[in-house]
Symmetry: D2
Subunit: 344 residues, 4 copies
């Protein structure tokens, strides 16, 4: 059994990690930490975990974490992650970081969208944890930067098309919609039930911090610098992201080219399901690590429209983190992730 | 008091008409019709209307309608509308048609997206009932074609920009999201609570029948033939449409130009509210005839993103229909539409 | 035009008052106050009211209120209300108080469930504002204590049966369910969208502060001291209360007696709609001042089950407050309340 | 590996069975049947199961089922179940029946609430599949009648109190609330999203078919004939049942007696979690086989109020069915049911 710890376990991604890990056949959760809930029993704080865990929230201490775990999931806010991760790595612990701290390879870009980086020297080592793109690097990594929820949905939608050069990389527009759990469990008037219910809206248009992360990976795929329009929206539902991604077809690209690109790129991928004309629905991936993809080639406008659906807490955070841990630990990728989506 | 009738009153747009009309100070509803509910009392069929109406659904008979009403709202499916409207006009009755039958000016386009038209000769006379664009024509009209819900949200978002030539008309992408009431009250598995809840999805991508209606009006505004990408989505909520509309700025267009265009175009419009940087939310227009608009100019990509919010049943159907009736009848436009949005 | 003010206008009952009052034909809102939002424009704070009000939140100053209004709605928390109301009355202003401060006639009961009362001498004068029970007293009142949301739903369900002595008053159980807006707009983790959605629960079982208010009025109706079991629940919806009220039939009571009791008691009441076997649904009263009632006589168990549905913000708070204002001002009771429920 | 089949797999309980079984370590699903979907691939009908199952819906043929499975789950409507079960038993196959056909021990009661029974001779053999009450009988059974969702929630709430004689069995009132998935996937106007959303209501008051099932088991526990008031309600959510169960304490019963009764009765039960004062929430059991219980002793009224929460599709149907299969097959009860509830 691999002993793991969850640092920052009192938020929604922490819950989702603990939910997945408690049925994982090769893992034991030894330690959970939370600054605010220190000393509180997990099943008092969150009764859903009663009869599952006998754990108490502890302080986030690197020595304690290193002593009790071979791998630590850091599910803290950005900035807090980079304060503890170097100490963990220094003690020989592997880390899957769910924050944004090690996703951007360029410290200057991080500074521009977040704040000054404290350990820029680690940015080169951290592996971007999207298994479909970086599986081999993840296998060998000490530090995996787990992708953001929106980036996961947008990058998987475009990877086959950009890597084959089928679309114009200057024309990309990603219109994304997320359930409210993506905003976390902090108190904010805009997250009250009566404000979210019936209250569909866009937010941070053109300014969302996931923009540079998406552009970084799309640029790698396109082998050219890519700038996109990215618009996130808040959907009155708890879980799920649906991204509708527009791009102009390059001259000569056919529907068959697009189909072939998706088929080949995701041929052996268990966690990507191709629907083609049959479009994805957030409900059909809920609680699972799947990314469902559908697409349309619109001859009238010369555009390709790709639609991707993921569960923002599972594929968009904790499920992908467990998948990365599996790869880093030499386990089959779907260990502990075999359950079907929750229907209905 | 103006005597009006509602033909096809047993669906959601019919309910919304009756809801608005029952508090309208200058109107009496004399007749309601429904093929399927003939003979049934309105307040048995829909207990919400108890203590409001003493009406029974009748057959849709033009003589009966003409005898009892000066103006008829036809809230029937397309095709059914054009079967009765000529008879109503022939009997001297004014009509506000909530179906798609008289929205397209070109019978050939109607045939392509719907079916063969039965009275193409009326297409030239029918006025497209978007008051901000066609107020004077509506005032004099016998037959007003009430706009579709999605078209209302998209056309109002772009009218100031296209009419001033600030954006590239070949670059328009409208990503629209609608609550489930837009799909009507018919039985379909995809509309069951357990399928819609948590089940955000796109549908009819590149194929929705509102596309030619939007393109027709955008072409008038742009004084050029406009083709767009239009993607509708289903949101787990009852009411509301939010459209996120992308376009490329023409060289030289500034943020100030965009602001000025909106300010001038909608200067005296009561039912359009400009938010600028403050983005609209469907909840804030619920139950009202408002269209709320916000926009961003994204210097990174050279695009303008306009976001519009309406209530699909009110501004997108029955509220706009009552507004058109007011104009046709010489009443102030907001008569019976003075109520504030429902909060929360 | 009657000039009114709303003190404590930044919460949900304040919004609902402003929503109703803005379309009220005989009223002008002259002043709104809020401790926290002082100096903020109403339509900046709540964009839904744009194009409806040109008001700024002010301090809650009795002189200012008395100078600008003939009647003040106090929509503040309990305790805050009784700090300002005596000063308002002393300046000749009428008051409809939406808090709990003047609902209980016995200062000792108030102290037990709330806190020490500051102006017990006014408790005898305040009229409990349930028009169906106290219409004539309301007409003459300076100070009306607007009923709580749960009490309105339970008292109206039982009034006909208790006043006729058809049920055993020691057997009453009220199982009530409310939408989340009943908990107000304050920040609390339990009110976040992701916690309320799919999270049906009971709360404050046997301890809710509305219990003594319900018992006070049921005791008046029964002419005997009544003690009940009252269990409130939180429903994943924004608006609406449904109360399922159980009682044992007194020996000899028949279904016909029950029917007759409801018919006679509510014969001329516009805002109570009797369904009998046809049971009420919260959706069918949403946004309206109606209380819908249905009932079953269960021969197997000798019990009567009455079910009532109201909108907690309208009939359960602000709609009833406006109705009380109408009565106090000599206006028809349904002035400004003529709109039908919101469907769907 | 145990080979199992699901007869009637195209509804929500069928989906839930397949969801649980696909991650069950000791089971293979060999056959699924559906009258209506015969010949359709499971993952075409329900894309959520793509990459999980390679199955096609077949006809419900007992020979085929017996050849391919050692145990069959019958998830068909009542009446349909009893048409096939005798043939399955005759071929040596064990059956867990999710319909109501074998839950009532008295064919006359079945006839009164449902219809005439076709195989009354099997009623004596069938075991009521509530493990906390009938574990040893289930272990030896050929035919297990899986309990109804409401009965599971009510019986578990009362079993400790009735078996110890702490409450008056003539005073029981069960006020139950269920998410919409309990009504199944059939088309009905009342199940449309726009009708359920914001539309909380009671239904079948005093007439619901789960009443005799509840009374049968409560009578066994009380060793006396028990008649109850049972009121089901529809909650705007997908999953979950919360039952609020009222009863009068017998003279002398104390809070400590109640606490002790629950503690002792459920001492070794993994799937019952006791909260005492900490009341259950449907969200905290979602997707799991838990039944969470909380309770209050109300000294003011002499009543005990027990509140139970289950997931209607898991503990109320398919999770409990798998648990029964585990017991019938000699597996640990929680095999395949180890996953924590879905949060949020």
């Amino acid at each position: 059994m691999i002993r793991v710890a969850v640092a920052g376990a009192s938020g929604y991604t922490g819950f989702e990690l603990l939910r997945i890990l408690c049925a994982h056949p090769s893992v034991t959760v030894s330690t959970i930490t939370s600054r605010q809930q220190k000393g509180v029993r997990l099943d008092d704080f969150y009764p859903a975990f009663k009869h599952h865990y006998d754990l108490v929230f502890e302080d986030t201490d690197p020595d304690r974490l290193a002593a009790s775990a071979e791998l630590v999931f850091t599910a803290m806010p950005h900035q807090a992650s980079m304060e503890i991760i170097p100490a963990l790595l220094g003690r020989g612990v592997k880390v899957v970081d769910l924050s944004a701290d090690y996703r951007l390879r360029d410290a200057e870009v991080y500074r521009e969208w977040y704040t000054a980086h404290k350990t820029p020297e680690l940015l080169g080592e951290a592996v971007y944890g999207l298994p479909e793109l970086y599986r081999e690097h993840i296998r060998a990594a000490r530090l995996v930067a787990n992708p953001g929820c929106y980036p996961t949905s947008v990058i998987l939608a475009l990877a086959p098309l950009l890597s084959r050069g089928l679309i114009d990389p200057t024309s990309i527009i990603a219109d994304s919609k997320s359930g409210a759990s993506g905003a976390g469990r902090g108190l904010a008037q805009g997250l009250l039930y009566c404000e979210v219910n019936d209250g569909f809206k866009a937010y941070k248009v053109g300014e969302h911090r996931h923009t540079p992360e998406i552009e970084q990976e799309l640029s790698v795929l396109a082998k050219a610098s890519v700038t996109i329009s990215f618009t996130p929206h808040l959907v009155p539902m708890t879980r799920g992201i649906l991204s509708t991604v527009y791009s102009n077809l390059k001259p000569g690209t056919t529907r068959a080219d697009i189909d072939e690109a998706f088929r080949v790129f995701y041929r052996d991928e268990h966690f990507v399901r191709l629907g083609g004309d049959s479009l994805p629905v957030t409900l059909q991936v809920r609680g699972s690590n799947f990314c469902d993809l559908g697409w349309k080639v619109d001859g009238r406008t010369g555009r390709c429209i790709v639609i991707s659906a993921i569960d923002n807490l599972t594929r968009g955070a904790s499920g992908q983190a467990v998948c990365n841990m599996n790869i880093m630990s030499g386990l089959p990728e779907d260990t502990g992730l075999k359950e079907a989506p929750w229907q209905p």
